[in-house]
């Protein structure tokens, strides 16, 4: 028995040292940058794409099959469950067969993954971006590390059928949607609609302001974009608003009152009582909209699939439209939707160059071949930032069309706001903000305390994640 014990302990000790060694190695691997060399891809058998969007996972499978038929290269597509992308990527990328194409969500996401992101400035994919959209790419110094691939927009989605019903009522505060050009009109219309909700057949004007933890991103991320956009726009240190946001060690939250304006409007004229909002999810509020219980809801063009997929959906595609989120900012008559992206492709710089090149070739094929383009617009439903897509190559879901038409209005002096929440300091900051908002609607926190928390949290989170 003694001998076996000794053998056992030897085994244990051996394994422990091995484990420690495994833990140590790999830390100082020099990374092979530049996924844009002229590496020979003929030996590459397969590439691995870690997909971010579960709702289109099956469509990617079809595309991968077609690509294999055409080129012989196998595209392994794996999809992370909703909200699990970071976790899945963390474990997948440490494996011996790591993803060669993955997604980062902007500059802050890049900080997290910069050891793995290949430099892409010389790649054809980057060259395919329109000049205007090149500025959207994730850069670090002179290098380009993330390439945007889908433009999205959000605002207040409204059901035109209900709005028309309201406009037809005697004494309506506005006679057509075109008259709603600022917060004051919006407020007057919404409050009047709320008062006449029985006539309109709705439970409230707005869908539930979902504040359940994990379902509060429409407020702590998307809505927060507006006041901070105007704040960083005033920052004269650079013209790049996202960069100003990234450099901001502190914020004034100068337009907090504007945030409160619209947030109070949402919660005071909702189909759900304030005290119950803490239990509501995004899905539930989208279902309220789809079934005609409310007339308006803040969300983006990705929401169409949620609306059309709800059982008992009564809203028709042609009646679903966007209204900008007006908050009472001076000159907001010309404000448009919030249009931007948090979807960036990154190429794993840790895999060999031939595989990097093969991965880029796949993306190039997807966004420039006829088959690829058709799949992207018809099946994946992306509005892409690439010049290979003409005006005819656009998705046909109603909200995406609306985003495109708002984008087109820019030539008439409309200003769509960029997404700068990619510059928010951390997930923690957003979650803290969401938690404060919940306490505010439940009457447990004064608005001034919410503002203080937001400012304080920005400062601490920036410090905590610096360096």
């Amino acid at each position: 028995m003694k001998k076996s014990k000794r053998i056992l302990s030897c085994l244990l000790a051996g394994c422990m040292t091995a484990a420690a060694l495994v833990g140590c190695s790999g830390g100082s691997d020099s990374k092979t940058s530049s996924g844009n060399g002229n590496a020979d891809t003929s030996n590459v058998k397969s590439i691995y794409f870690l997909n971010f969007k579960p709702e289109i996972a099956e469509k990617y499978e079809t595309i991968a099959k077609k690509y294999k038929e055409e080129t012989g290269i196998e595209v392994k597509v794996k999809t992370a469950a909703s909200g699990e992308y970071e976790k899945t990527l963390t474990s997948e990328i440490a494996k011996s067969d790591p993803p060669t194409i993955f997604q980062i969500n902007g500059p802050v996401g890049y900080q997290n993954w910069k050891d793995y992101c290949a430099e892409l400035k010389g790649s054809e994919l980057y060259g395919m971006l329109t000049d205007e959209n090149k500025s959207l790419a994730v850069t670090d110094g002179d290098g380009v590390y993330g390439i945007p691939y889908a433009i999205e927009g959000y605002g207040i989605i409204y059901n035109d059928e209900i709005m028309q019903k309201y406009f037809a009522i005697d004494g309506a505060k506005a006679k057509s949607i075109d008259e709603i050009k600022n917060f004051d009109t919006l407020k007057a219309v919404v409050e009047d609609m709320q008062a006449k909700k029985a006539d309109l057949g709705i439970d409230g004007v707005f869908g539930s302001t979902s504040l359940k933890a994990g379902d509060d991103w429409r407020w702590q991320t998307h809505l927060a974009n507006l006041p901070l956009y105007y704040e960083f726009k005033e920052d004269t240190s650079s013209d790049n608003i996202i960069l100003n946001g990234l450099n901001a060690k502190e914020i004034q939250f100068k337009y907090a009152q504007n945030y409160k304006n619209i947030f109070d409007l949402y919660t005071n004229n909702s189909c759900t009582e304030k005290t119950l909002l803490g239990g509501k999810t995004v899905d539930e509020s989208m279902a309220e909209f789809a079934t005609g219980k409310c007339a308006m809801i803040q969300n983006g063009n990705w929401g169409w699939s949620q609306i059309s997929g709800v059982d008992g959906n009564v809203t028709k595609a042609e009646n679903i439209k966007f209204l900008p989120i007006y908050t009472g900012i001076e000159g907001e008559e010309n404000q448009g939707l919030c249009i931007g992206t948090e979807n960036y492709f990154a190429i794993n710089g840790e895999v060999d160059e031939a595989t990097q090149k093969a991965s880029l070739d796949f993306l190039k094929w997807l966004f420039s071949s006829d088959y690829g383009k058709e799949q992207v617009t018809k099946e994946l439903g992306f509005i892409t930032p690439f010049k290979t897509f003409t005006e005819d190559d656009q998705p046909d879901d109603p909200l995406a069309k609306e985003v495109i038409s708002w984008k087109a209005k820019e030539s008439n002096g409309i200003k769509n706001l960029e997404w700068l929440f990619t510059a928010f300091p951390s997930e923690q900051w957003k979650n803290d903000f969401g938690a404060s908002l919940l306490e505010y609607v439940q009457g447990q926190k004064e608005w001034s305390a919410v503002v203080d928390d937001v400012k304080q949290s920005w400062k601490t989170e920036r410090e905590a994640t610096a360096g």
Binding site: M1, M16, G23, G26, V108, W113, S426
Partner: protein
């Protein structure tokens, strides 16, 4: 025979030892190593010493979560064990249908934590709806929601253990006590409880560690809301790991501290209750 076992011991034990290494020991050692590192994935770690530990303790959320967890554990250990013991006493009486009840009480334990969390979220929110509130309205609701959920899940399990303990008590002892004229309270305190001490040890151990390590139920029921007031340690660790860029190491350090706390509490509890066990 004895010799043959000795001779082949290393070979026979090898599969288990290897499995134990791969699935437990190596990840555990790597985890401890990573708690001293700044890292994104297990492959690109750089040594930073005790920095992560210092940041853990400077983190208010961690201290709040620890305090909340302690309060929750104390309350639920007491309520679960008392109720489970009461049920066990009732179901060892000669009543009709005791077996049916035992089975029914045990069943909640077979449902996974996440599912239970969502079920109770619906029940509790459905109830609070009539008062115009939800479980996130106040941390008190969240706290008691968790206690109720934990009781519902674990009472059946602990009850089964107590029942087996109670059934093992020799009828002679009780009979002798009856002859000596002991009343039922005296019998309970002087015979039943000392005799089921081994069951108490194991039940306390299970409830203590399960309550302390609670994650699924916490995640599904409140997810820490309102604010982070109902966030328990395990949830705080996960949130630290994914909440901020560059804080993976701190999450890992918190996890190591968490392990030490659980180990110390569980071992000292075992030591203390073991001493009270009597030979029957």
């Amino acid at each position: 025979m004895q010799n043959a076992i000795k001779k082949w011991f290393p070979v026979l034990a090898l599969p288990t030892v290897v499995a134990f290494m791969i699935s437990f020991l190596i990840p555990f050692v790597m985890g401890i190593y990573l708690s001293f590192c700044s890292f994104k994935t297990v492959k690109n770690a750089t040594w930073v010493g005790f920095d992560n530990y210092l940041r853990s303790f400077a983190n208010e959320d961690f201290i709040n979560a620890l305090w909340f967890t302690v309060k929750f554990t104390v309350i639920s250990v007491i309520t679960i064990n008392i109720l489970a013991f009461v049920f066990a006493m009732l179901l060892t009486k000669a009543l009709r249908g005791t077996n049916v009840f035992r089975t029914i009480f045990f069943m909640p334990n077979l449902i996974g934590g996440i599912v239970l969390g969502y079920i109770w979220l619906m029940i509790i929110n459905g109830f609070l709806y009539y008062f115009g509130a939800t479980i996130t309205t106040s941390a008190t609701y969240g706290f008691w929601g968790l206690v109720i959920l934990m009781n519902w899940q674990l009472i059946g399990y602990m009850m089964i253990i107590y029942i087996s303990g109670i059934q093992n008590i020799s009828p002679d002892l009780l009979e002798a006590a009856d002859i000596d004229g002991a009343n039922s309270a005296q019998k309970l305190i002087h015979i039943t409880i000392p005799q089921v001490m081994p069951s108490i040890t194991i039940c306390l151990f299970l409830t203590l560690t399960n309550s302390f390590k609670l994650f699924d139920q916490n995640y599904a029921l409140t997810a820490g809301a309102p604010g982070k007031q109902t966030q328990m340690l395990a949830l705080d660790i996960v949130n630290t790991f994914y909440g901020r860029v560059g804080w993976q190491g701190v999450g890992q350090a918190k996890a190591v501290i968490f392990f030490l706390i659980v180990a110390v509490i569980a071992l000292s509890q075992l030591f203390l209750t073991r001493r009270k066990e009597v030979e029957s």
